[in-house]
Symmetry: C2
């Protein structure tokens, strides 16, 4: 199953050096999930050929402008480009007020349903469950209410021990239930426990988007125990967190305007966590 | 005196084909005036080396997103980049409410004074008078309250007829008052009327920004009687208006996503008004 992330914006606070305010898009089994939507995100989508019509979920971490000022423009463009299917939007409750006010004064009535879900920055919540993925919020410690988002691939089906099934003569029509964990009783009444017919599936992949938070590795360890990618603001600290939570890979992004070149940041993080990459515009990473 | 306009965004409604939503910046005697501020305007300013610190006036025509969604990001970036001097902002009264709401939730307190002036879309108002220019609103006929803006170079001083002044022996220290229209009485009491000592100044230059309006040439004739540049949405109609108001030059911009190529639009307008140019990103036009 495809599980990858493309960086649309990597800048914090202000756009600079061709870096755009923050936005990322995940492709999980050909469904697109947009995470944050800084100013110019829709232009970046055009640039990197990300079709807005394929996005059904948008997640806004918090209400600093560099994380959401591209949202109203994107919602408007989807409307003007004829979108009819519903769009789910997750973010702080005040985001709805901001959207409503702007659409009120522009006299815009969206042609599609915008399903808004207010996130809670005081506790983790499961906000999406579908066939491919579960998505949870990660409450973060920032100046204003802020959530990260944890994308966890749905637990995969167990793997069949084909040779054993053929030896016993299990009918093929039962394979699907075996993958889901069922036992098998043969025509003579003999029971075969599932774990003698299948093995564990691969561990589900996980992607954690953790922008804008204070440094608190233990908290992250608790929150992201099974995360294998994380995304954070301070290179060295992000690397330390990546070590603490036993991540497989670290993407650093949300770069400050202080850094024209990002080489030093990368080197700094890699000194602690070697499998670190720069989350720069247009790059796609397979989870 | 420098009087030129640089196009930062030429697209209407949605960004497309590398065209950005609407924004223009005027340089009048080295002061910058920003007119409309669609999403991504601050990125365009970086791209075309327009320094935000040199802008002291921003004008928002109306509250459709393609004309103002880049404003909050720009105001924030000026703040984060250390601006201290006041900034004058002109736009519909509801714009203030939108700004206040967004800064409230991002917990932003600007480090500089933002002087907001609510425009009135029912009547023309003079909103700026300084040493270089007067700026008036042009009420437009759009779906929501909307103003264009008319930039009129300050009336220049009269030109001295140097030979005549020398012949009569007018003291040089009186030249400035003559330029402003004073008469001259010589030591023997003989009066010389000003118009025998000076001639009319050059006609002041004018730039009219008229985006998003219905087609109404008579109205424009009345409003823009002395305008020599205009800017409008429908190529052929804009050209007809340019003829009606006796404009010197027409810039057409705010292009619909319908037009990938703009050649036909240009040709169409030029068939009626030959001195038409395309107001595309990065182009600077001397008024």
């Amino acid at each position: 199953m495809k599980f990858e992330v493309t960086i649309l914006g990597s800048s914090s606070a202000t756009p600079i050096y061709n870096r755009n305010p923050t936005s990322q898009v995940l492709n999980i089994n050909e469904r697109l999930y947009l995470v944050d939507c800084g100013e110019g995100t829709q232009q970046q989508m055009l640039r990197f050929d990300v079709r807005g019509s394929r996005i059904d979920h948008i997640f806004i971490s918090h209400l600093h402008g560099d994380h959401y000022l591209g949202l109203i423009g994107l919602l408007s463009s989807l409307h003007l480009n004829g979108r009819k299917k519903a769009l789910k939007l997750f973010g702080p409750s005040q985001l709805k007020e901001i959207i409503d006010l702007q659409f009120k004064y522009s006299e815009t009535t969206l042609q599609y349903e915008l399903d808004f879900f207010a996130t809670d920055s005081t506790q983790s919540q499961v906000i999406v469950i579908n066939d491919d993925v579960t998505i949870e919020t990660i409450p973060l410690d920032h100046r204003i209410p802020c959530n990260g988002f944890l994308f966890r691939e749905k637990k995969r089906l167990r793997k069949l021990l084909k040779d054993e099934l053929e030896r016993i003569g299990v009918p093929i029509e039962l394979y699907t239930s075996l993958k889901k964990g069922a036992d098998y009783t043969d025509p003579k009444g003999k029971l075969y426990k599932n774990d003698t017919l299948t093995t564990d599936s691969d561990k589900p992949k996980t992607y954690a988007y953790c922008s804008d938070t204070l440094f608190n590795p233990q908290y992250f360890k608790q929150m992201l125990d099974r995360a294998n990618e994380t995304h954070h603001t301070t290179a060295l600290q992000a690397a330390e967190i990546a070590v603490t939570v036993n991540a497989k890979r670290l993407l650093i992004g949300h770069f400050s305007a202080r850094y024209k070149s990002l080489d030093d940041l990368l080197e700094e993080a890699q000194s602690v966590f070697p499998n670190t990459a720069l989350a720069i515009e247009g790059k796609t990473f397979v989870v």
